[in-house]
Symmetry: C2
Subunit: 312 residues, 2 copies
Amino acid sequence: MKEINRTVQLIEVGPRDGFQSIKTFIPTEKKIALVKTLLAAGIRRMEVTSFVSPKAIPQMADAREVVAAVKAERVEGLQLTALVPNAFGARAALEMELDAVNFVLSVSETHNRENVRRTVDESFGELAKIAEEYAAVEKAPRILLSLATTFGCPFEGPQPVSRVADMVHRAAGLGVTRIIFADTIGVADPLQMETFWEDILPVLPEDLELSLHLHDTRGLGLANVYAALRFPVHSLEASFGGFGGCPFAPGAAGNIATEDLVNMLERMGISTGVDVETLSRAALELARFAPEAFNSHMARVVAGKTACCGPA
Amino acid sequence: MKEINRTVQLIEVGPRDGFQSIKTFIPTEKKIALVKTLLAAGIRRMEVTSFVSPKAIPQMADAREVVAAVKAERVEGLQLTALVPNAFGARAALEMELDAVNFVLSVSETHNRENVRRTVDESFGELAKIAEEYAAVEKAPRILLSLATTFGCPFEGPQPVSRVADMVHRAAGLGVTRIIFADTIGVADPLQMETFWEDILPVLPEDLELSLHLHDTRGLGLANVYAALRFPVHSLEASFGGFGGCPFAPGAAGNIATEDLVNMLERMGISTGVDVETLSRAALELARFAPEAFNSHMARVVAGKTACCGPA
């Protein structure tokens, strides 16, 4: 048995990817209460919102209020990120003193156009603009890059690993400190996941934080995590309740549920500092807003629908 | 990357484990139609029913009619199994000319008592009785043994691998040809799965077919399959739609969905001969009888709730 990576960290993205996927507006007070429950559960790295046009995604219209309320909690060691689609969003993140911004572009040219209405080159231009603006100020947020459709595109199919690697180098050249490889439509299988890491690791620049963002469309999210744990992936994104999904990617569905991921890691002896039960209670609360998209096993166990009992 | 086991076979247990878990009586004609759809999907190994007391499990009251209808199809290469809790059930299976009977006992003494109201020794006594009766007739069904709670018991917790191995030897001595290691309450994690195979393989008798029966209570079913594929496991049981669950094991929930397993195996280049779409249509039909227990990702993809499109 090959040893698994025991230093992997957890990043909760539910308040961005989960909330964004829910059509019913979640009242601001409810959003804030949910995020506070996540903190109480032990979450310390979180994508807390998205600074996007409220016309594009009305759910995120209260981004600033949510961030302000969470920051007011002054939780020690808390690292907050926001997704930003452009320099405009990056300015909001700077103003709100976030720790990092997550800029998204797609490995697939077609998906990038569908998702952000730009060519990949234009997206890199926007990323460069953010980097330039941030370089001019003190205490600017770090810049992270999510590479959507890394493991497959709904329009173009598989993407060459060399193309992914080229984008990572280009991003590193602009000062990006973390790369998030995203399986936007949940098509990766665990063998593909292993091959991906074997192929890309030798050609990546050093000193980058490497993350995974896995959708669970075909139920392979946790199997893919297990496959990836054979490699030095630094962090795993997940969404409480398993909500999420790119609105501009046909075939996308929810993320792996954070509580399911925590349970798997803890059972394998990897400490997360996160309490499954508290997290599950937050997931069950959120599920009221979109019961049909609820995709969490542990929250069901906690809810007692499949009563968990005894020492097993 | 270690090579994975590419010869693994699929065994559909939905008509037994799935049907059994559904409270609403599924009309006999509907059961037969569903099983025929499974055959049309390419399923060739199937646990088709259970010969139990209709008082204990009313859903199985039409076991003989279902078996007769399926056998009348005369599908080439079809291997049909029935679960039997005792010699009485084994006689019915012999009469109906099934290929094999699946006898269940639990590794955990407490769970065995809860599940079949016998001590483990008494269960082995009953198994010996079946073996003796079958030895006296020509063309008797083969005898399979499911070891419930192999990976953990809801009452007793973890079970020693040495105890599991002892039971396998005892069963092999009685002429059992296949052992099904069952994670009855879905507690195994993939690292535990690897350790299990590493520990047990060197101490098992030769020439046994080794199978896994994994519940997905905590969402780890497919991750556990992937972990097991590093080892010479011969077959994997799964249930279309992800239905299933032991009625006498608190904390049990559905099996891994056959269509999700097929998708994973096929994506990794392991041919199953099974069509995901046809299987998913059967799963969606069955889901009408127990929508709350439906646990299939691929069937949702096929249903277009998360529209699957393009080459990805």
